[in-house]
C-alpha cells in the first residue's frame, strides 16, 4: 500500500518537476560540475548583465569605491542575454553577478538553473529592478535563490508622487517612482524600505548571498523631488550592499587542482581531450602549483597547442609566474612548435631569467626563435608552418613577454617595431570590423612600450584598449544587422563576425589586465588620458589599471588621483578620490 502511495505521490510531483528550470536544464545535459572552484577574491570579478538604463544605477561607481573590480559585461534584449557565460566553468570565475532589469525569459531555464547552482556554491547575485526586472521570476529558479517571492502578475507598480526611501541611517527626502511589490522570505533582511514597502532585501541561498533591489530607475520626478538615483547617498547604499555580497568570496584552489588533475587523468593523454581540459580550467587557475600543472601539460604533449590555449593558459598563469617556471618555459620555446614557442615567449618575461631580454629582443627582430620553424609533423601543411603566420604568432608572444619583463632597455626595439607596424594597421576612423594581424601586433607593441616605461605611449595605450572595445561593438552589430535580402558578402561578414567574437571578447578582458602594474613613470600620463575620455566604458579600464583591488599595496605617485578626479565619469573620479 505504501509503495503505491509513494508511486502516486511521484506521479503527482513529476510533471511539476519536469517543468522546473533544474529539470529543463538537466534535460539539455547541463548539470552542475562535481567540484566547484573559486578564484581568489581580489580583485573581485563581476559579471554585469546590463539591462536598459544600467548607467543610472551607478554600479561602476560603487565598484570603484570598493577599490575596483574586473568587470565582464553582457547585455539584454527581451528574448535573450547576449554574451552570457554558457558553462559553469565560465560562470564560476565570477564572484558576483549583477542582474540589472532582466526578465526571466531572457535568461531561459538553463541559465536560471545555472545561476541558482552558482549561488548555492558560494556565488553572489545583485538583482536590480526595472521595466523588465523580475518579469516571469515567479516560480523559477531565480525566485528560489532570491530572498523574496515575486508576484505572478502586476509585478511593476507606479507611485506617481514617489515613495520616500528609508535607510539605516535614514536618508533625506529621496524617492522611488516605480517599484516591484516583492514579499521578503522568512529569513530575509530588509535594509531599505520605501514608505513601508521593502526595497532592498538581502538573504542567503546555500553558500551564497543575494540582494534584491525592488525599486527601479524609471519615472519622471516632479520638479523639486530627488529620485534615489540622483541622491548622493545611493552610491553608499550600493557599495555597502556589494561589500556584503562579496564578503564570502574566497579561493578554493585545492578543489581546483583536484578537479584539473582528475580531468587531465581522464583525458588519458589524448590531445583533443587535454585541450578541452586546458581551455575549461585555465581561466580558473588559482595558485602557483595549479599554474605549473597547466604549463607542464601544455609543454608535454607531442602536438602543438592551439592558439586559444595559448591565450587561456597565458591569462590563467600570469599572476603566478616566477623563476621556477624558467625550465618549463625554455622547453616551450625550444619545442619548435609555433604556438608552444609563442606561449613560451609570453611566459619568459614573467620568469625574469637572465637571458630573457636578449631572447625576446632577438625574437622580435627575427620574428622567430632557434632554428626557426618546426618539422610540421604535428600539423603538416598547417597554418603554424606558414612563415608569415609563425612570425606573427611569435611576435605576439614576444611583445607580451617584453611587456611582462618591463625592461626599459628593450624600449627602443619595441618603439621601432611599433612605428613600423602602425603603417599597416587599420585606421580607427574606418570602423574596422576585424582584427588584422598587424592590428594585434601594433596593439601588443603599444602595451609593451607602456609596460617598459614609455610615457609617450600612454595615450596610444588607452586608444588601443578602447579600439578593442569598438571592434567588439562593430562585430556585435554585424551579428545584429537586420537584412531583408542579405547578399553573399553580408552573409560572409556575419559568419566572420560570429567566428571573431569569442576571441575579441577574451581580448577585451585580457588586454587591460596587461596594463596592471605598469611603471610609476607612466601612471600620471595614463590617468590624464583616461580622465579626458568621455566613453563611460573607460571606467572599467580605469578600475583595472588603478583599482586598489588589482594593485594591492601599491602607492600611487602624486598626481594620479588628482588627474582621475577630473574625469566627468563618476566611477573614474571615485577611483581618484579613493587614492587620497
Amino acid at each position: 500500500m505504501r509503495r503505491w502511495l509513494v508511486l502516486l505521490a511521484l506521479l503527482c510531483v513529476l510533471p511539476a518537476y519536469a517543468e522546473t528550470d533544474d529539470a529543463l536544464a538537466a534535460a539539455k545535459g547541463v548539470v552542475p560540475p562535481a567540484v566547484w572552484c573559486t578564484l581568489p577574491p581580489t580583485p573581485p570579478r563581476v559579471l554585469a548583465v546590463r539591462g536598459l538604463w544600467h548607467a543610472y544605477y551607478g554600479v561602476e561607481r560603487a565598484l570603484a569605491r570598493l577599490g575596483g573590480a574586473l568587470e565582464t559585461d553582457c547585455w539584454h534584449s527581451p528574448k535573450s542575454v547576449r554574451f552570457y557565460p554558457e558553462t559553469y566553468e565560465e560562470l564560476m570565475t565570477f564572484h558576483l553577478v549583477v542582474v540589472d532589469n532582466i526578465n526571466a525569459d531572457a535568461f531561459g531555464p538553463t541559465r536560471r538553473a545555472m545561476l541558482k547552482t552558482y549561488v548555492a556554491n558560494g556565488g553572489a547575485v545583485l538583482f536590480l529592478g526595472g521595466f523588465y526586472g523580475y518579469q516571469g521570476y515567479h516560480g523559477t529558479a531565480l525566485e528560489e535563490l532570491a530572498p523574496v517571492t515575486f508576484p505572478e502578475k502586476d509585478g511593476l507598480l507606479q507611485a506617481p508622487d514617489g515613495l520616500r526611501l528609508h535607510t539605516d541611517p535614514d536618508c533625506p527626502d529621496t524617492r522611488v517612482y516605480w517599484y516591484h511589490p516583492v514579499m521578503p522570505k522568512a529569513d530575509a533582511r530588509v535594509l531599505v524600505t520605501a514608505d513601508g514597502r521593502p526595497l532592498l532585501i538581502t538573504g542567503t541561498y546555500g553558500k551564497g548571498r543575494v540582494a534584491v533591489f525592488a525599486g527601479s530607475v524609471m519615472g519622471d520626478p516632479p520638479a523639486g523631488q530627488t529620485p534615489f538615483w540622483a541622491w548622493n547617498g545611493w552610491t553608499g547604499v550600493l557599495t555597502s550592499t556589494l561589500t556584503w555580497l562579496l564578503a564570502p568570496a574566497k579561493a578554493d584552489t585545492e578543489a581546483y587542482r583536484g578537479a584539473v588533475s582528475a580531468a587531465l587523468a581522464a583525458a588519458h593523454g589524448k590531445r583533443e581531450a587535454e585541450k578541452a581540459v586546458l581551455l575549461k580550467y585555465a581561466r580558473l587557475c588559482g595558485d602557483r602549483a595549479a599554474a605549473r600543472l597547466l604549463v607542464e601539460t601544455a609543454a608535454e604533449g607531442a602536438d602543438d597547442i592551439s592558439w586559444d590555449e595559448v591565450g587561456a593558459i597565458d591569462a590563467g598563469v600570469a599572476a603566478y609566474l616566477d623563476a621556477s617556471f624558467a625550465p618549463l618555459v625554455a622547453r616551450l620555446i625550444a619545442s619548435e612548435q609555433t604556438h608552444k614557442a609563442s606561449l613560451g615567449l609570453r611566459l619568459l618575461g614573467g620568469t625574469r631569467s637572465k637571458d630573457a631580454a636578449k631572447t625576446l629582443a632577438d625574437a622580435l627582430d627575427a620574428g622567430d626563435v632557434g632554428d626557426g620553424g618546426g618539422d610540421g609533423l604535428d600539423n603538416p601543411g598547417g597554418l603554424q608552418q606558414d612563415p608569415t603566420y609563425r612570425a606573427y604568432a611569435l611576435r605576439v608572444g614576444t611583445l607580451e613577454g617584453i611587456g611582462r619583463l618591463g625592461d626599459p632597455a628593450l624600449l627602443p626595439a619595441v618603439r621601432k617595431f611599433r612605428d613600423e607596424i602602425v603603417k599597416s594597421a587599420s585606421r580607427p576612423e574606418s570602423h574596422p570590423a576585424s582584427l588584422l594581424p598587424e592590428d594585434e601586433l601594433y596593439q601588443e607593441a603599444v602595451i609593451a612600450s607602456l609596460r617598459c616605461g614609455d610615457t609617450a605611449a600612454a595615450g596610444a595605450a588607452v586608444d588601443v584598449l578602447l579600439a578593442n572595445r569598438y571592434l567588439f561593438i562593430q562585430l556585435a552589430a554585424i551579428l545584429d544587422e537586420q537584412m531583408q535580402e542579405p547578399n553573399e558578402q553580408q552573409i560572409l561578414a556575419k559568419k566572420r563576425a560570429a567566428a571573431a567574437i569569442p576571441h575579441q571578447a577574451l581580448r577585451l578582458t585580457q588586454l587591460p589586465q596587461r596594463v596592471v602594474g605598469v611603471p610609476d613613470a607612466v601612471l600620471v600620463a595614463l590617468a590624464q588620458r583616461i580622465a579626458v575620455e568621455k566613453d563611460a566604458k573607460v571606467a572599467e579600464l580605469a578600475m583595472v589599471i588603478f583599482g586598489a583591488n588589482t594593485n594591492p599595496g601599491r602607492h600611487w605617485p602624486a598626481g594620479v588621483g588628482e588627474a582621475l578626479q577630473k574625469s566627468p565619469l563618476p566611477a573614474v573620479a571615485e577611483l581618484g578620490a579613493g587614492m587620497r
Binding site: 546590463r50 536598459l52 547576449r82 521595466f131 507606479q158 576612423e429 569598438y470 561593438i473 552589430a477 568621455k534
Partner: protein, 757 residues
C-alpha cells in the same frame, strides 16, 4: 541546321555593322509648312536609309550636315525614324541619340508605335551662324540589360540531346539592295532581322528667339503674391523687333493675359521681364506661357508649370530626404532643392531624421543621430532645406510614428513613462553605445524601438507627441506630419483625433498624412479622423510591384480601390512609388506612372516616368483633372460610355470620374490605358506593348439637355499633351480619339441641369 545558323551568325559578326552609316545633307526649309511638304515628299519616295541592328552593339544610322552654312538663329531638325521589330529582345533596350549642333535627344523602343512605321522626331537647336551644322542619328545597346537581351535574342537554341531533331530556323535573308545614295526600299526593310531606318532629314527655320521662363515658386497658395521672370534672347545676327506676350494657361486651355510689350532686341542680347503673376481664377495646375513673336509672324514659346493650392497634398509630388548633415551648408540645400524642383517635385519629406520619431522632433544638439536609423543629421541642415523648399514653393513634411518611440531618445521617454509602453525591441548594448556612434567611434544601423500599450493610459503620451510636433513646426517650419506604419484601431482613432486637435489648434492649416491600408481604415471607420479636412493616406505595399513580379492589372485595381476609399472622406491618395527597388523596365515605368496618376495618386520618392512622357510636369499641370478629390465614380459607366471596337482598356470603368463644377457646369473625366500584353511587372523584358488604338470612337450618353463646352484629349507621351477634340452632339456625344498608346485622359466639360451620376 544548327551549324548553318552558327555559320551565318559568325559571318554576320565578322562583317560587323551591316546596313549603311551614310553622310547626307539636310535642306533648310523656311517654315513648318515647307518642312511638312518635304516630309510628305520623302514618304512618297518609298526609300530610306537603314541599318541592321541585330548583331553589333552600336552604330551610326546617319551622319549629316545642313546643306550650307546656317545663319545664326533657331532651327528644328526633322528626322522620320522607324524601328522594328518592336516588343523584341533585340531592340527592347536600344538607345537612339539624335543630335543637331549642341542639342541632343534620346529615344528608345517605346517611342515607336508600330514596327517600320516612320515617326517624325524633331530636335530644336541653335546655330551661331557662318557654318554648316552637323546632325546625326546613332544607336547603342550598351546597358547591362541591353547586352543581356541581345545575348538572349542571338544565342541559338542548342538542343540538350545532340541526336535529337533540330527545329529548322529560318535562314537570315540577304540584306536589301541599296541604291547609289545608300537608300533601300522601305518595303524591303523586313529583310533586316532588326532595323533602324531614317526616311529623310530636313531642317526647319524657327523664330530666332529663346525664352527662359521662371516662376518664383512651383506651387503657390491662393493668397501668395506670385512673381515670374521671362528672359528673351535674340540669337539672330540682326536686331529684331519682338512682341512679348505672357499669359497663364489653366485648366485645359483657359488663357489669362499677364503682360504684353513690344521692343527691339539688338543682336545677341536678352531682355528680362520680371513682374507679378495674378493668381485670381487659378487653382490646381497652370502654365506661365511666354510667346516672343517676330514681325514676320514667326514665334518662339517657352513656359513654366506651377500649381496653386491651399492644401499641400492637393499638388503633392514628394521627394524623400535624409542625411541632412550635408545641408549644414545652405548652398548645398538650395542646389538640391532647385534640382528637385526642376525634376517636378513639389514637396519633400524628411524621413528617419528625428532623434525619436514619436517624442523628439526638437534635437538638443545641432548634429545628432536619427533615432530609427542612426543617420547623421543636422538641425541647421534641416532648417536650410526647409527654408529653400519654401522659397521655391515646395512643402516640407516630417515623418513620424504614432505607435511608439525609437532610438536613445525614445528609450529615455520609456524610462520616464513606462506606463505608456507595451513592449520594446532592442539590445541594451545598442543604446549603451549610442554616444560612441555619435562620437563616430563605431558605426552601425540598428532599430531599437518601443511600442505603446493601446489603452486609455497611453493616450496621455499623445500630448507629449503633439507638443513636440508643435515645437518642431515652430523651430523648423514643417507643413505636415506623415505617420509611418499606421494601423487603424480604436486606440489609434482616439490618438489621431487627440493629436490633430492639439496641433491644429496651435498651427492652423497644419496637415497630416499616414502610411496605412485605406481599405481597412475605411472598413473600421477611421478615415474621417485620419484624412477628414484634407489629409493624405499613402499606400506603401504597392511599391513592391517593382521588387517582385506582380500583375499590372492588379496594381491598377488596387490603386483604384484605395482612391475610392479615401476621396469620399475628403482625403488625398498618396502612393509610395518604388520604381527604384530593382532596375525598372521602361514599359513597367510607363504603366506604373500612368496608372498612379489615373488613380489620382500623389507619388512619393521615386521620379515618375520621364523620357517618354514628362509625367511629373504633366501631373502638376493637369492636377485639376487628376487630383481633384471631389471627383466621384459613375454608378454604371458602361451604361453611359461606349467605345467603338470594344478595345481592351485597363479599369476604364472604375477610373471614370464625374464632378460638379458649380452651377450647371459638370465634367466627365475618362482614363484610357490599353491593357498590357504581358500583365506582369519585371517580366516583360522584350517590352511587348499593345498596338496603338487609332481613331477610337467614343460615345457618351450625357444627361438630357446637356450642352458640351469642350472635349479635351490629354496625353503625357504625345508631342502635344493637350489637344481639343472635335465632337458631335446629337442624341449622344460622339468624338474620336486619334491615338491611344499608353494613357490618354479625356475631359468632357458640359452644362446641364444635373450632371452624370
Amino acid at each position: 541546321m544548327v551549324q548553318l545558323r552558327l555559320l551565318v551568325f559568325c559571318l554576320c559578326a565578322l562583317a560587323g555593322v551591316r546596313g549603311f552609316a551614310v553622310a547626307i545633307s539636310a535642306s533648310l526649309l523656311p517654315d513648318a509648312a515647307a518642312a511638312q511638304a518635304a516630309l510628305a515628299h520623302a514618304t512618297a519616295d518609298g526609300r530610306c536609309w537603314a541599318v541592321d541592328i541585330a548583331h553589333p552593339l552600336k552604330g551610326t544610322l546617319l551622319n549629316g550636315l545642313s546643306d550650307g552654312p546656317l545663319p545664326a538663329g533657331r532651327y528644328r531638325l526633322h528626322v522620320p525614324l522607324a524601328l522594328a521589330p518592336l516588343g523584341d529582345l533585340n531592340v527592347s533596350a536600344i538607345a537612339i541619340t539624335v543630335t543637331a549642333g549642341e542639342a541632343k535627344r534620346a529615344l528608345g523602343m517605346l517611342h515607336f508605335p508600330v514596327p517600320d512605321e516612320f515617326t517624325d522626331f524633331t530636335l530644336d537647336f541653335t546655330a551661331s551662324g557662318g557654318a554648316a551644322v552637323p546632325f546625326g542619328v546613332t544607336w547603342a545597346l550598351d546597358s547591362e540589360r541591353a547586352k543581356k537581351n541581345r545575348t538572349a535574342a542571338t544565342t541559338p537554341d542548342v538542343p540538350k540531346d545532340p541526336d535529337a531533331p533540330v527545329d529548322d530556323a529560318p535562314a537570315e535573308e540577304a540584306p536589301p539592295r541599296s541604291d547609289a545614295d545608300g537608300r533601300v526600299l522601305v518595303r524591303e526593310l523586313p529583310k533586316f532581322r532588326a532595323r533602324l531606318a531614317a526616311r529623310t532629314a530636313v531642317i526647319e527655320r524657327l523664330a530666332p528667339f529663346t525664352l527662359e521662363v521662371r516662376t518664383t515658386q512651383i506651387v503657390y497658395r491662393t493668397a501668395d503674391a506670385a512673381e515670374a521672370t521671362v528672359i528673351v534672347h535674340n540669337v539672330a545676327d540682326t536686331p529684331r523687333q519682338v512682341t512679348l506676350q505672357i499669359d497663364t494657361v489653366s485648366g485645359a486651355a483657359t488663357v489669362h493675359p499677364v503682360h504684353t510689350e513690344t521692343f527691339t532686341l539688338p543682336t545677341g542680347t536678352a531682355k528680362t521681364w520680371t513682374g507679378p503673376v495674378p493668381l485670381t481664377g487659378l487653382y490646381w495646375g497652370a502654365e506661365l506661357r511666354a510667346t516672343a513673336r517676330a514681325t514676320d509672324g514667326m514665334a518662339a514659346t517657352g513656359g513654366a508649370i506651377f500649381g496653386v493650392a491651399d492644401n499641400i497634398w492637393e499638388t503633392a509630388l514628394m521627394h524623400g530626404v535624409m542625411f541632412t548633415d550635408k545641408y549644414a551648408d545652405a548652398k548645398s540645400a538650395e542646389e538640391d532643392i532647385r534640382r528637385w524642383r526642376a525634376d517636378g517635385y513639389t514637396g519633400l519629406e524628411a524621413f528617419f531624421w528625428a532623434p525619436d520619431d514619436f517624442g523628439d522632433f526638437t534635437p538638443d544638439t545641432d548634429n545628432y543621430l536619427s533615432g530609427q536609423t542612426q543617420y547623421r543629421e543636422s538641425a541647421t541642415g534641416t532648417k536650410n532645406l526647409i527654408r529653400a523648399a519654401h522659397a521655391n514653393g515646395m512643402c516640407a513634411t516630417t515623418y513620424a510614428n504614432l505607435w511608439g518611440s525609437d532610438g536613445a531618445a525614445g528609450f529615455e521617454l520609456m524610462r520616464k513613462h513606462p506606463e505608456w509602453v507595451g513592449g520594446a525591441a532592442f539590445s541594451s548594448d545598442w543604446l549603451e553605445n549610442w554616444g560612441l556612434m555619435e562620437a563616430g567611434k563605431v558605426q552601425f544601423e540598428l532599430w531599437a524601438l518601443t511600442w505603446f500599450k493601446q489603452d486609455a493610459g497611453s493616450l496621455a503620451a499623445m500630448k507629449t507627441h503633439a507638443d513636440e510636433v508643435i515645437a518642431s513646426q515652430k523651430a523648423f517650419g514643417w507643413d505636415a506630419t506623415r505617420y509611418d506604419s499606421y494601423s487603424s484601431t480604436p486606440w489609434t482613432k482616439q490618438a489621431t483625433g487627440a493629436v490633430r486637435a492639439i496641433v491644429e489648434a496651435a498651427v492652423p492649416g497644419y496637415q497630416f498624412g499616414y502610411n496605412s491600408a485605406a481599405d481597412y481604415d475605411a472598413k473600421v471607420g477611421a478615415l474621417d479622423v485620419m484624412v477628414g479636412n484634407g489629409g493624405l493616406l499613402m499606400e506603401e505595399a504597392s511599391r513592391d510591384v517593382t521588387k517582385f513580379p506582380a500583375p499590372i492589372s492588379g496594381y491598377a485595381a488596387r490603386l483604384a480601390t484605395l482612391r475610392d476609399c479615401i476621396w469620399p472622406h475628403g482625403g488625398h491618395f498618396g502612393l509610395c512609388y518604388g520604381i527604384s527597388q530593382k532596375v525598372p523596365l521602361p514599359c513597367d515605368e510607363v504603366y506604373m506612372s500612368s496608372i498612379a496618376l489615373a488613380c489620382g495618386a500623389h507619388t512619393y520618392y521615386d521620379h515618375l516616368e520621364e523620357p517618354l512622357g514628362h509625367h511629373m510636369a504633366f501631373a502638376l499641370r493637369y492636377a485639376e483633372f487628376l487630383y481633384n478629390n471631389k471627383m466621384r465614380p459613375l454608378q454604371h459607366p458602361p451604361g453611359v460610355i461606349a467605345f467603338g471596337g470594344t478595345p481592351a482598356l485597363l479599369e476604364w470603368a472604375r477610373l471614370a470620374r464625374q464632378v460638379d463644377l458649380g452651377g450647371d457646369k459638370h465634367r466627365l473625366v475618362l482614363h484610357l490605358i490599353p491593357a498590357p500584353v504581358v500583365d506582369r511587372t519585371m517580366e516583360n523584358t522584350a517590352m511587348q506593348m499593345p498596338a496603338p488604338l487609332r481613331a477610337l470612337p467614343v460615345t457618351v450618353q450625357l444627361p438630357a439637355g446637356a450642352v458640351v463646352t469642350s472635349v479635351t484629349n490629354l496625353c503625357p507621351t504625345a508631342a502635344a499633351p493637350c489637344t481639343a477634340l472635335p465632337w458631335q452632339a446629337g442624341g449622344a456625344l460622339t468624338f474620336t480619339v486619334p491615338e491611344v498608346r499608353y494613357w490618354n485622359v479625356l475631359v468632357i466639360d458640359y452644362t446641364a441641369k444635373e450632371g452624370l451620376r
